[in-house]
Every structure is written in structure tokens, then in C-alpha cells.
Amino acid sequence: MLRASVNHHNSDIQPDRIVGGAEECGIEHAKEIFALTDAVVLRDTAEYPDARIRAELRVGRDATDRLVMVAANFQQMNRMMDAIGGRVPTSVEPLAAEMGLTIPNHLASTTA
């Protein structure tokens, strides 16, 4: 869905930079969004106030709140999928490779 939404806006995503996290990756204001996400997920009380202000200046207060809530939701989703051993569909492998990641054997699936 990340790629589909980026393509919809005729942009060109650079998935490897999601791993890097500090550069623009083809999505508007990605640098500030990376910093916001990192600070809230890692509960970095030192970095969070500055990351939040920078995000608010770029995307606005409501959007910043929404992005924080999305990160929070994926704290739930990640734990759920890792804990139930949901396999990663083979269709995701090309994107993982673009990000420089290899799906671990215990999560690899034969299902597309």
C-alpha cells in the first residue's frame, strides 16, 4: 500500500531510505516524519519535543497527531504478527529486497 499510494501521486519512492531513515525518500516531509516516528516509537523523551515541533511545522498539528496515532497502532500490529507467526507473503519479497532486507526463514511463506 505504501508503493500504491506513492504511485498514485506520481512520485517515485526509494524504499531503501526507509531503513536509513534520515533522508527524503520520495514522500513529502519524510525526514521530519522519520524523526517523529523514531522518537515516539522509541519513547525518546529528549528527542520527541523537537521532532514533534518540526513535524508540526511541516504537516500541521492534526496530521502530526494522526501520524503519532498510526505509529502507536503499528506497535500493536507488529507485536500481533510477530507473536502469532504470520508468514510474510512472497509478494512482499521484492520490496524487502529493495529495502535491503531479507525475510527470515521462520517467517518465509510459500503463499503469494
Binding site: S5, H8, V19, E28, A30, D62, M77, N78, I84, V88
Partner: protein
């Protein structure tokens, strides 16, 4: 944060913590609140509090809360051998996952974590779901194991995570829309946060 967002989040917390305080399918309210307390400590690096949880649920709670990517099928099998049903494990994962979401959102929105409520007395239903099976996952599910089926071995558990996901992320019916915008955040920005969070959690899904 706008008044409507505050109200929506506070209402979500009220519903979710009310559930956590009550007996459900495999755990009492007291046990679920103990899981919440242990998960909070594990996620923030604090000492694990004194708890009435048995060894298997205590270990499982800590692992799901703080190092979910290290879990393997053998862990679940070991906990089953120690007496924790796999359905009870599924419900435990739901409690810890929802707690993680609510506490993270509270931090990011500038709220204190919701105080854990007083447990409501009651016994678990101990109800099973017919027809669930192991389909490309470590726990029984209704169909292949992926988010919409993850908790289907436990009656009511799916609705609880959908409640959290709908408020914090997006309603299920919007999932296929690449043009979805919420509170000014574009779908691409939303999915960027999802991808980055998953990377930080070492989650490949």
C-alpha cells in the same frame, strides 16, 4: 490536538481499559491487568512488578511486550506444555498489543498513561471457536494467519483490535484506498510511518 481527537482517544482508552479490567475468554480481569502492568514495565525498561501471573504468561507477556520479533513457534509450544492454552496465548497477545498501542499514543499525544483500573470480579468464559486451524501461522486462525484472522481463535478478540486500529489508523473499509487522507496526513505518509515503525520493531510483516 483538537477536541474531537482528544475525545476520540479518551473514549477509546475508556472502552479498552474497561475490557482489560474484566474477565474475558481465558483470563480474569485481575490477570489481564497484571499483564498490562508487566507489559508497561517491560516496554519502558522498568523493573517487572510483583505479579500473580504464572511463569508461562509472565514470560509470554514480557516477550510480546519488549521483544516480539524474537518469538518462535517453539516458545508457544513450551508455554502450552507448561499449561497455557494456545487460545489463552492469543488473548494475551491481544491485551499486550492493545496496551502497547494505547500507551504509545498517550506518550505521543502528551498524555500520561491511563491508570490501570480496579479489576472487575468474574470468571473467564473458556469458549473455543470451531473450525480454526493452523494455516501458515503458529496459532489457530480462521483461514490464513494475517491481521484480520490473527485473533479469530478467541471470541471477541478481533473486534477489540479493530476498535484500536480504526481509531488510531483507519477503518477497515478504507484499507484499499491509496488516496485516503486523515487529519491532513496522506496515505503515503501514513504508510511511511507504518513501514518505519515496523522496521524499528524488527517486524517484517
Amino acid at each position: 490536538m483538537t477536541t474531537s481527537l482528544i475525545a476520540e482517544f479518551e473514549a477509546l482508552c475508556a472502552r479498552q481499559f474497561d475490557d482489560i479490567a474484566r474477565a474475558s475468554v481465558w483470563w480474569t480481569g485481575e490477570e489481564k491487568l497484571a499483564m498490562a502492568a508487566v507489559a508497561r514495565a517491560a516496554m519502558t525498561g522498568r523493573a517487572i512488578p510483583e505479579t500473580s501471573l504464572g511463569e508461562a504468561p509472565l514470560e509470554a507477556t514480557g516477550r510480546v511486550a519488549a521483544e516480539a520479533s524474537s518469538l518462535r513457534k517453539a516458545d508457544i509450544e513450551r508455554w502450552e506444555a507448561e499449561g497455557m492454552r494456545v487460545e489463552a496465548y492469543v488473548e494475551l497477545v491481544g491485551v499486550v498489543g492493545r496496551l502497547a498501542a494505547l500507551d504509545t499514543a498517550a506518550f505521543g499525544l502528551g498524555f500520561d498513561p491511563t491508570p490501570l483500573p480496579t479489576p472487575v470480579a468474574g470468571a473467564p468464559l473458556e469458549a473455543t471457536v470451531p473450525g480454526v486451524d493452523y494455516v501458515d501461522g503458529w496459532v489457530p486462525t480462521a483461514g490464513i494467519a494475517f491481521p484480520p484472522t490473527a485473533y479469530t481463535a478467541v471470541p471477541g478478540a478481533t473486534e477489540l483490535w479493530i476498535d484500536v486500529s480504526s481509531v488510531l489508523y483507519m477503518p477497515l473499509e478504507e484499507m484499499g484506498d491509496p488516496t485516503f487522507v486523515r487529519d491532513g496526513a496522506t496515505r503515503a505518509q501514513i504508510e511511511l510511518v507504518a513501514a518505519r515503525t515496523s522496521y524499528l520493531n524488527d517486524c517484517f510483516y
